[in-house]
């Protein structure tokens, strides 16, 4: 993986990407079938109120008491021949910033699917935390991934990079059973001038009585530091209960209670708590969303930061914040 640190390596990588694009284009031209592109968008407007901690000097306040943000997300996807393309961009008006969230091309041959481009490549079973994903969740990277399905087995190989300073490659082998599935992962990571291997396993299991468990363990070499996750989701008649314990340099507990709207309900609400078991810190998130209208969705999210004295969350300059969000789809 040191090739990505040198200019030669970078050139080789870029040539490989070009060849993949050209090959994909030839495949697409060969089948001469073009599908109608699918275009959609959404405008997200938020009004945010921060309740700042008392006693904080005005000049040291890192955030304004109120702020508003608007972003526009556009998505374009379609098929050309045996290839699918997906493009998603977001413009942040308040920051005059424009980002590409996804620009990928994918295709398949028999049981093999490949995907190339820029996107969030996150995978894993955890809800609040994924122990085996080697990079930052919700961050986008350039990369390439191959998936082979020979039911009940699967094999995934991928390599992604953000720049010469950050990237990873992984190999995942999985098997599906009657009510569970298991996966073994090996990955190589380079980040902040460190290179290391890590390996682990993940699983999910349905007990067929409303309870599903999931979890994973990851060990980094050569330091032999570990990350662990054990979680469960119980689906009752009306409510859904979630609990996850995970360890990554510190112990955390995540708990949630929600009422999912299903197909016909109008309201969706949830309560989430994140506890830092090490220092007693606590973050509480309440959300309420109204779903009746197909295009306009209002939502309110209240987040409080609290917990034991001396905890990291207590040092947060924001005591609580309220976000009123309006999403319009078109």
């Amino acid at each position: 993986m040191r090739i990505f640190r040198s200019r030669v390596g970078l050139k080789i990588f870029q040539v490989a990407l070009c060849l993949a694009l050209t090959g994909g284009g030839l495949l697409a031209a060969g089948s001469r079938v073009i599908g109608k592109p699918n275009f959609s968008g959404r405008i997200n407007t938020e009004f945010i109120y921060h309740q700042l901690s008392e006693g904080l000097p005005t000049l040291q306040q890192p955030l304004p008491e109120t702020e508003s943000t608007t972003d526009l997300q556009l998505s374009l996807s379609g098929y050309t021949g045996a290839c699918q393309y997906e493009l998603q961009v977001t413009g942040y008006f308040h920051e005059l910033l424009f980002e590409t969230n996804q620009a990928t091309v994918s295709s398949f041959f028999g049981p093999v699917l490949w995907e190339f481009g820029k996107k969030d490549w996150a995978w894993g079973k955890g809800l609040a935390f994924i122990p085996n994903y080697p990079l930052t969740q919700e961050a986008v990277y350039w990369g390439f991934e191959n998936r082979i399905i020979l039911s009940p087995f699967s094999l995934v190989a991928g390599v992604v990079r953000k720049n010469s300073q950050a990237g990873a490659g992984w190999l995942r082998a999985g098997k599906m059973f009657e009510t569970s599935d298991w996966e073994t992962i090996v990955s190589y990571v380079w980040r902040d001038e460190r290179c290391y291997w890590q390996g682990g396993t993940e699983f999910s299991w349905d007990f067929l009585n409303g309870l599903c468990l999931h979890g994973g363990v990851n060990i980094e070499f050569p330091e032999r530091t570990g990350k662990y996750l054990l979680g469960g989701v119980y689906t009752g008649g009306i409510f859904t209960y979630i609990m996850e314990y995970y360890y990554a340099k510190n112990h955390y507990l995540f708990a949630g209670l929600s009422r999912e709207p299903g197909l016909f309900s109008r309201w969706q609400w949830g309560i989430k708590e994140l506890f830092s078991l090490g220092d007693g810190g606590m973050i509480t998130i309440l959300n309420l969303k109204y779903l009746k209208d197909r295009t306009v969705t209002p939502e309110i999210i209240i987040t409080t930061y609290g917990g034991g004295k001396g905890s990291e969350t207590q040092k947060n300059p924001v005591e609580w914040e309220c976000v009123m969000r309006l999403e319009v789809k078109f």
Partner: protein, 259 residues
């Protein structure tokens, strides 16, 4: 030996023996006749439904009725020959980026913003009173055995027992119309015999050669005033690759099935 030449006690003994054999003979005949008929009924219904062999794409309209209010949604089910199923939505708009994959007793949900599939319980209430099992279809012929059959003037009443403990509904009771040999009512039970759901079948018709009905589903445990009605809009045969029915491929399902 002539029957007339036998003395009284011997005659009685032989009569008893003949009656015993006759009864035993009729009993042996009746038991397999009853079992075969029940099985034949289920096979006949299964044949006329015509979803046993091959892959299909089914479009359904799902209506939730709560008092005077009715909400509707449009669902597309991709049914593979191996009975793996992908449930997608064409309406409402907010659910068109969600899909549910059902492989035997495993269920996964994929949502575009999440970028990865998550396992969910098959009990998750998604379609009003209809769960994933009802939308995906319950196979009464292959997943159940006939425990008992009764006959009234108008109906056959079949009591079914699930063959596998992993099946969502462990017991089912079917009411089959004798004249048309179609299901009119089903009650689904839990393992302990508690009735969970009632399904009413009506408006039987042919749709592209498949015999289908409108299905009304009512929850017998709670929210009893609410009901969900499923109507089939179209059924078409389509070659579907088995690789598409895997959690790892959920984000690329439309690409793999070429729709």
């Amino acid at each position: 030996m002539s029957f007339r030449l036998l003395v009284g006690r011997e005659k009685r003994g032989i009569k008893i023996t003949i009656y015993a054999f006759l009864s035993l003979f009729l009993l042996c005949l009746s038991t397999p006749v009853m079992g075969r008929d029940a099985q034949q009924i289920l096979e006949d219904i299964y044949e006329r439904q015509g979803l046993g062999a091959g892959s299909f794409v089914l479009d359904l309209q799902v209506d939730s009725v709560d008092g005077n209010e009715t909400y509707n949604a449009y669902v597309r089910v991709y049914l593979h020959a191996t009975k793996k199923q992908m449930v997608t939505f064409t309406n409402p708009e907010r659910l068109t980026n969600q899909s549910f994959l059902v492989i035997a007793t495993n269920t996964w949900m994929y949502q575009k913003g999440l970028n990865r599939p998550l396992r969910i319980s098959a009990q998750q209430k998604l379609f009003g009173e209809a769960g994933i099992a009802e939308i995906a279809g319950i196979d009464y012929l292959h997943d159940y055995r006939v425990a008992k059959m009764e006959e009234t003037a108008t109906h056959y009443q079949l009591e079914l027992q699930a063959l596998d403990k992993k099946v969502a509904y462990q017991q089912a009771k079917l009411w089959v119309d004798k004249d048309r040999v179609v299901v009119e009512k089903i009650i689904l039970f839990a393992l302990n015999g508690q009735p969970l759901k009632e399904l009413l079948y009506y408006n039987y018709r042919l749709l592209n050669g498949h015999q289908i009905a409108s299905i009304e589903i009512r929850n017998l445990l709670y929210e009893k005033a609410q009901r969900t009605v499923m109507n089939y809009l179209s059924i078409r045969g389509k070659e579907l690759p088995e690789e598409a029915f895997d959690p790892l491929m959920m984000s690329k399902f439309q690409l793999l099935v070429k729709e």
